[in-house]
Structure formats: C-alpha cells, structure tokens
Amino acid sequence: MHETALIAEVLKTVRQSALENNLPKVTKIKLAIGKLSMALPEALIFAFQVLKKGTICEEAELEIESKEIILQCLDCTQEFRSQDYNFSCPFCARSRIKIIQGRELHIISFEGEENELGSNCGSTLIKSQ
C-alpha cells in the first residue's frame, strides 16, 4: 500500500547518487524485497512505471530480487526457512525467533550511462560508496 512512497524514495536516492557519480542517465535499478515485507513487487513495478516519467530514471528498468524468509531460533540457534509463514522452529518446536532474511526493502545498486566526458570510458566499473 505504501509502494508509491517507497518508489519515490528509490528515485530520490538513485538520483542523488547518480548525480554524485556523474551519471546523467540511469538504465537499471536493482532492489531487494523480502518476502516478509509487505511491499508487493507488482505494485512496486507499477509505481515505478508511473513515477519515473520525467526523471533521469525515465528509461531505466526495475529489477526486483525477492528474498526468502530465513529465521534463526533463539532457543537452539538453528537457522531455518519459514514455510507458509510458520515461524516455529522445526528443530525444537519453539518460536522465539530472529529474522535473518526476509524483511529487506533495500536498493542494491543501479546502473547508469556516463557523461561523454567521463574518465572511465571503455570499462564497466563497480564502485562502492
């Protein structure tokens, strides 16, 4: 339901980072979305199609990496995958758990085309910040 607000945040963050990195055009954005997060991929894609218009992400595609739910039992420390939203530990049957993976709502990375004048012509470079 708040997918529109999430995408607005994505566009804002990516725009700022693209400008800092001298990338006037963004071609791809990768997000990690946990299965336990309440954001629906289809709704994210729809919001993206609408909101990217007129921004430097206008021609970008959105790639969503869906993250399975991985839990850790706080009683026996085993890690396990949650099936069908069952959070009880398959090893000791209790369910005091910590969520290891599945709550993600992250921007992983984005790709952009460099300015003609950019100095890194000819190679694809991975930059961390």
């Binding site: 309440m38 209790r94 969520i99 790709e111 961390s128």
Partner: protein, 225 residues
C-alpha cells in the same frame, strides 16, 4: 559507458534514524510508548477510552492519534482529560517517525509516563514503520475472521502483545478463538494474548495490569540507566 553503483541502502533508512531519535528521547524521559496497530474499526479508540479510564488516576497519559483525514477519534479522547495530539496523514496509510517526532513537540513529555500511538487503521504498512515505540500491540477483532494472523504475519511477528477484541460478539461469529491463538503462537511463541471486550470491559484487567507492569519496568530502567 555503463557504470554500476552499489548503493546497499535500506529504503526506510531515514525513518529508522528518526525512530531511533524518538526512542532515545522517550526512553530518557522514562515514558513507555505503545504503538497500537489494527485494521480499521477493530476497536483501537474504544480500547483507549477504556484503558485511559482505568489508568489515568495512576499516572499521566498522552495519546498520538493517527487518522487519514478526520479528528473524530481525538475528539472522543480529548474529553477524557489526557493530552491528545492529532496527526492527519491526508491519504497516507501509516504513521512514520517524522510525524511522531512532530507530535512529540506538542506533548507535555516531562509529565507523561505512558504514551499511546493510535496508528492509522491498516494491518499492512504500519508494521513496517518503526516510530520509536517500546512495543507494538496488534488488535484483531473477532468480527474480522481468525485467518488474519496468517494473512498479515509481519504485524503479529513485530507485536509484543495481541488483543483479540470484541469477544462479546463471539456467539454471533464463526471466529475460532482457539485456532486464532494457535496461529498467533505459530507466528510468535512468546506473544502475550489478551482476549477482551473493550465494550463490556470483560478481560480488560489482564491488559491493564500488563501495561502497569510495562510502565514500572520503563521507570526502573530509566532510573538505573
């Protein structure tokens, strides 16, 4: 040429930072903060009215009232002699930490021991947004059906306690109390569950005692820390 930039940033980072600031501020003041989350009409405001009635002579209580457009709920609560601040989200389906930070500015924090935040009626988004509370409490009313925990697991996983409200209506619904409890336990074994009726008052004592306990725990930890 194409360049890939690694961002590795949570989308809700700004919210999480602000929530942390709210939490520090509230903890320093020794205030217990409860974020109430439910679907529309599950009984958040009614429960607050009854809870305030039971506790307001013991310590001073504040309310942050989230609503999309109206001020009906805060009008109901303002008559009770507690500090109420209204937040209208104008279409927004949840409260965020920024809104709560603004509301805190308008509350007499130095006096408060207990602060309730009535979130916007919605079981989906509010679970995702930390406001800086000590605990989330989810309310499920028996007229909503006992399959809700499995449909909206995040809110029940995030909650410390769940109120099963409107038990006075049990005879008129097909709500299966035992099945709902079992589903909740599968999601989180150590959930505290309070079946009650905010209307008739049945089952309210256990909830009120739990809150009193929370308040004295917070007082102790802010006195020692």
């Amino acid at each position: 040429m194409n360049l890939e930039v690694i961002v590795a940033q949570p989308l809700l980072k700004a919210n999480e930072e602000l929530a942390g600031q709210n939490r520090n501020r509230l903890n320093r003041g020794g205030i217990t903060t409860v974020n109430l989350i439910s679907a529309p009409g599950a009984g958040k405001t009614t429960l607050l009215e009854k809870t305030i009635g039971a506790l307001k002579n013991l310590f001073s209580i504040g309310i942050v009232e989230g609503d999309i457009y109206t001020t009906f709920d805060s009008e109901r609560l303002a008559g009770q002699g507690v500090a109420v601040v209204q937040i209208n989200t104008y279409g927004g389906c949840h409260l965020d930490a920024q809104m709560v930070a603004q509301a805190l500015e308008r509350l007499p924090l130095a006096k408060l021991k207990l602060l309730f935040i009535e979130n916007v009626g919605n079981l989906v988004c509010p679970a995702e947004f930390d406001l800086g509370e000590n605990c989330k409490v989810a309310i499920l009313s028996v007229s909503e059906g006992s399959d809700k925990p499995k449909k909206y697991p995040l809110v029940f996983q995030e909650a410390e306690a769940v109120i099963l409200n409107k038990i006075d209506l049990l005879p008129y619904t097909d709500f299966d109390l035992a099945a709902a409890k079992e589903q909740l336990k599968e999601i989180k074994n150590n959930l505290v569950i309070f079946p009650l009726s905010a209307k008739t008052g049945e089952g309210m004592e256990a909830w009120v005692e739990w809150l009193k306990d929370k308040v004295s725990q917070t007082e102790k930890s802010s006195a020692t820390g």
